[in-house]
Symmetry: C2
Subunit: 176 residues, 2 copies
């Protein structure tokens, strides 16, 4: 609960983010992180209770970043859903390791900074016209596309722009 981090703690979270994005999850070990910051591994535990807390801090930052990116994307856009999908896809492609950390495997919401997930989700709910079921379906579609794309699950010759377009059309308010 003492969501406040020491300056060293913030430094560690920032370094973890860099390490993760540069080398992937394998590269993000407590020893390597500590080394980056010029300290030994046990010292990390003076600032963060465990590795999960470190990851949740990185994830919280990322959700906050997502929220501002999404808000900017819909701002003044005619096709809000399309703009949002583009921003979503771009975020995942630009930060694949980070996106996987955020979305892969169960997430302990209690360890996330409060409100940060809802802030990222809000523009989508608005863009589909307030229909919660449609928002969840659209989110599932976007997440599925994004994760399958960055994981290289689609055939190399697949026209992903077309698949995205097909899904976006399906969830535009009033459709289906």
């Amino acid at each position: 609960m003492p969501d406040e981090l020491s300056p060293r703690g913030r430094e560690l979270v920032a370094a973890a983010r860099v390490l993760l994005e540069a080398e992937g999850p394998e590269g993000l070990s407590m020893r390597r992180l500590a080394e980056r910051v010029g300290v030994t591994a046990p010292s990390v535990y003076k600032h963060l209770p465990d590795k999960a807390a470190l990851e949740h801090a990185v994830i919280s930052d990322a959700f906050a970043e997502m929220a501002v990116a999404f808000a900017a994307a819909v701002d003044g856009a005619g096709d809000r859903l399309g703009a949002l999908a583009t921003a979503y896809r771009r975020f995942a492609s630009a930060h694949p390791h980070l996106y996987r950390l955020m979305t892969t495997r169960p997430l302990d919401r209690g360890r996330l900074r409060a409100g940060v997930e809802a802030a990222a989700a809000a523009p989508l709910v608005a863009a589909v016209g307030g229909d919660a079921d449609a928002a969840r379906a659209a989110w599932a579609f976007a997440h599925g596309m994004a994760i399958l794309e960055i994981d290289g699950r689609f055939p190399p010759d697949a026209d992903l722009d077309a698949a995205w377009a097909r899904g976006i059309a399906a969830f535009r308010p009033g459709a289906a």
Copy 2:
């Protein structure tokens, strides 16, 4: 390439599947697997080159299983897409650890048993009317729903039946 496994090899793959489903990915270690089969860990390497090969063998089996489940689901169904979605969702819910192993993180197709992935995908392409873009979008939607559901990412009060229905309607042939 010698896709043929020794009897012991098959025994190991079967035990790995049981271990994975019972205890999750943490429980699936080479030592614990070996112990289950009454052998020591280095012995496993006489039958399988490494842990990734073991996992790919489990995944190949699972895809083959999926393929027969999906074929059975669409067989004689009026709403093929709906039937397929139900079967997909049921598979993921019934085998969450297995489903995560199959779909989470990049997959080295070269290590999969040939054709097994395409066999699982075929019924969907048919159900959606042969449109590859729509099939990919529908797959992304189904995967997104399934993985978010088994990972507990939706709010506990979310009406997931409704979200599934909304997405299925969106991808029915002719829609959008």
